[in-house]
């Protein structure tokens, strides 16, 4: 779910043209995080560290761009010691859906 009030606020803060450019950074970042999560292993420390770092970035950036449900999920998983493979899949689905909804929301608001 995308917080459209937040998006409108950001447009006011930086201007619509710049916001659209920033939005593409956010969409690209989500895509990169998705690719990275799809390949990560939950079975070792390096994998868990990588997931932890991704969640750390996601919970802030998603909230900043109004992707509230993704931010909530990232915050919730970030608090856990270890994230299991099912949770990683859920996160991947949420990233994918949020990215789609976000792009839809900004195109509708143009």
């Amino acid at each position: 779910m995308i917080n459209t009030t937040k998006i409108e606020q950001l447009k006011c803060d930086v201007g619509t043209d710049i916001f659209l450019e920033l939005a593409s950074h956010f969409a690209n970042e989500l895509e990169q995080q998705l690719k990275s999560l799809k390949l990560v292993s939950t079975e070792n420390k390096d994998g868990q560290d990588s997931i932890h770092n991704t969640l750390h970035t996601l919970k802030n950036t998603a909230s900043l761009y109004g992707a509230d449900s993704l931010a909530n999920m990232a915050s919730q998983y970030y608090e856990k010691d270890d994230v299991n493979s099912v949770e990683v899949i859920e996160l991947c689905i949420e990233i994918s859906n949020s990215r789609r909804d976000f792009l839809k929301a900004i195109s509708l608001g143009e």
Binding site: L10, D13, V14, G15, I18, F19, E21, L22, S24, H25, F26, N28, E29, Q32, K35, S36, L39, V40, S41, D46, N53, H56, T57, K59, N60, T61, S63, L64, Y65, A71, Y78, E79
Partner: protein, 464 residues
């Protein structure tokens, strides 16, 4: 009056770019750095008025950047941005001299308010922004990334930021997207530009010779080692070492490379002397490094060691708006070297360029234009000067015509399909006729029971 200078150190490009855009709109001069080393290098180069500092960074801790900034100029104010789960780190930051900390996620207004307060403090304590350019550092590289697309602008921003540090850069992208150009650009923009840029293609060197090529050898180390020879690591000392097609490197050599990266020390083949070398490593691959790690072909620890600043170069087909810009650039370049007079492209040529997929990316575009310039004369590049594009267009037309013909035939054939019941009826009627009306015999010949045959005949008579 000059604008106050702010540095944002935030590993998320999307978040950092948002803070930067907002604060620039409020009248500040803002630079964004995605890692600690880039930030520290920039701080050394020019002390900002205020630093907005994330704590968790991919290379060093934000606290280290804070300490570094305070060491360079203790009047620089630092606003630490952190998540609620790392409040204890923020407290440490305050002890180390941070002016304030704000908890993520925050509204832009809160950021602005924190910056304004920090700036007031900075002014009252008399901070001055003095430019102390690194000796010999180039302002800009002669090599440039051409293109207006957002993806190229993002890459340029990352490279400009990364150029100020020693952090390893991992460039990924399809063949021909400009990975080596990227490495040369980084080298030229860094304060290492007056030292060597050494490029090694890991796929082109036989495994047996790799260690020698990389670390050098001493005379007599193996048959054929008739004299001492410097390796790439030694030649690149103080400069940049570019490792192209890194994922092709054999696993045992990956272990040796990792050891060198960790310690900066190595030994020439055949020698027990330990030598040090200070190199900045830029590596590239056209494979997916994460998949190579997952498949066990690339060491995970080496990947994390090298992937401090990842740069992904987009394929040309994904930056359509840059194709014509690049084409014009190469046309000018090739005309100059071949002494030709081409000024531009016909509409049809541009259309063909835009509709083509460019599997060989920028390298392919460059070759197409070079070929055209060398082989033709004129002032406009016409489509018929590009035989490969004519073929492509023809192939595309033939393929379209073929598809169209096939669909017509398929449509006609669809009309000719006979319903199964009708086929069955005709087969039975034929059998009965051959058997002179003898239904039981026809049933035997058809392989069904006589009663089934009678029932079917009765049904057809009723339907008729």
């Amino acid at each position: 009056m000059s604008k106050p200078i702010l540095y944002i150190v935030e590993d998320s490009i999307a978040a950092g770019a948002m803070y930067k855009a907002y604060l620039e709109k409020k009248g500040y001069e803002v630079s964004h750095f995605v890692d600690g080393f880039s930030a520290m290098s920039a701080i050394k180069n020019k002390v900002p008025d205020v630093i907005i500092q994330d704590v968790c960074l991919p290379d060093v801790s934000g606290i280290d950047v804070l300490k570094f900034a305070k060491k360079i100029d203790k009047k620089t104010e630092v606003v630490v941005i952190t998540s609620n789960s790392s409040i204890d780190v923020a407290v440490t930051a305050m002890r180390e001299g941070a002016y304030d900390f704000i908890e993520k996620p925050f509204e832009n207004e809160i950021l602005l308010s924190a910056v304004q307060s920090a700036l007031e403090q900075s002014i009252s304590s008399g901070t001055q922004t003095v430019s102390t350019n690194l000796p010999g550092a180039k302002v800009k590289s002669d090599i440039d990334f051409i293109g207006d697309s957002i993806s190229v602008q993002t890459v340029k921003r990352i490279l400009n930021s990364a150029a100020r540090s020693k952090a390893s850069v991992f460039v990924t992208g399809e063949s021909g997207t400009g990975k080596e150009v990227c490495a040369e650009y980084l080298h030229d923009c860094s304060n290492r530009h007056d030292k060597s840029f050494v490029a090694i293609n890991c796929a082109a060197i036989p495994a047996d010779l790799f260690e020698s090529e990389f670390f050098g050898h001493v005379k007599g180390a193996f048959s054929g080692a008739i004299s001492d020879r410097k390796g790439a690591v030694e030649m690149a000392n103080g400069g940049t070492l570019f490792l192209d097609e890194l994922c092709e490197m054999a696993l045992p050599l990956q272990a040796k490379l990792l050891r060198f990266l960790q310690t900066g020390l190595y030994s020439r083949v055949g020698s027990s002397d330990v030598v040090s070398s200070d190199v900045r490593v830029v590596c590239a691959t056209n494979r997916n490094p994460q998949k190579e790690v997952a498949d066990g072909r690339f060491r995970e620890d080496l990947y994390y060691r090298l992937n401090v600043i990842p740069v992904n170069l987009p394929p040309l087909r994904e930056r359509e708006e840059d194709i014509i810009i690049l084409a014009h650039f190469f046309l000018q370049q090739k005309c100059k070297s071949a002494n030709k007079l081409f000024k531009g492209f016909s509409k049809n040529t541009e259309k063909a360029f835009l509709s083509y997929d460019w599997p060989g990316n920028i390298r392919e575009l460059q070759n197409v234009i070079e070929n055209c310039v060398v082989m033709n004369e004129g002032d406009t590049v016409e489509l018929d000067m590009l035989p490969q594009f004519k073929k492509e267009a023809l192939k595309s037309n033939v393929s379209t015509a073929k598809k169209s013909l096939l669909s017509e035939i398929e449509a006609e054939l669809t009309d000719e399909i006979i319903p199964l019941w009708q086929v069955e009826k005709e087969a039975i009627e034929s059998a009965v006729h051959i058997c002179n009306g003898n239904i039981p015999l026809a049933a035997v010949k058809l392989g069904i029971s006589a009663s089934t045959l009678y029932r079917k005949i009765k049904n057809w008579e009723e339907l008729a």
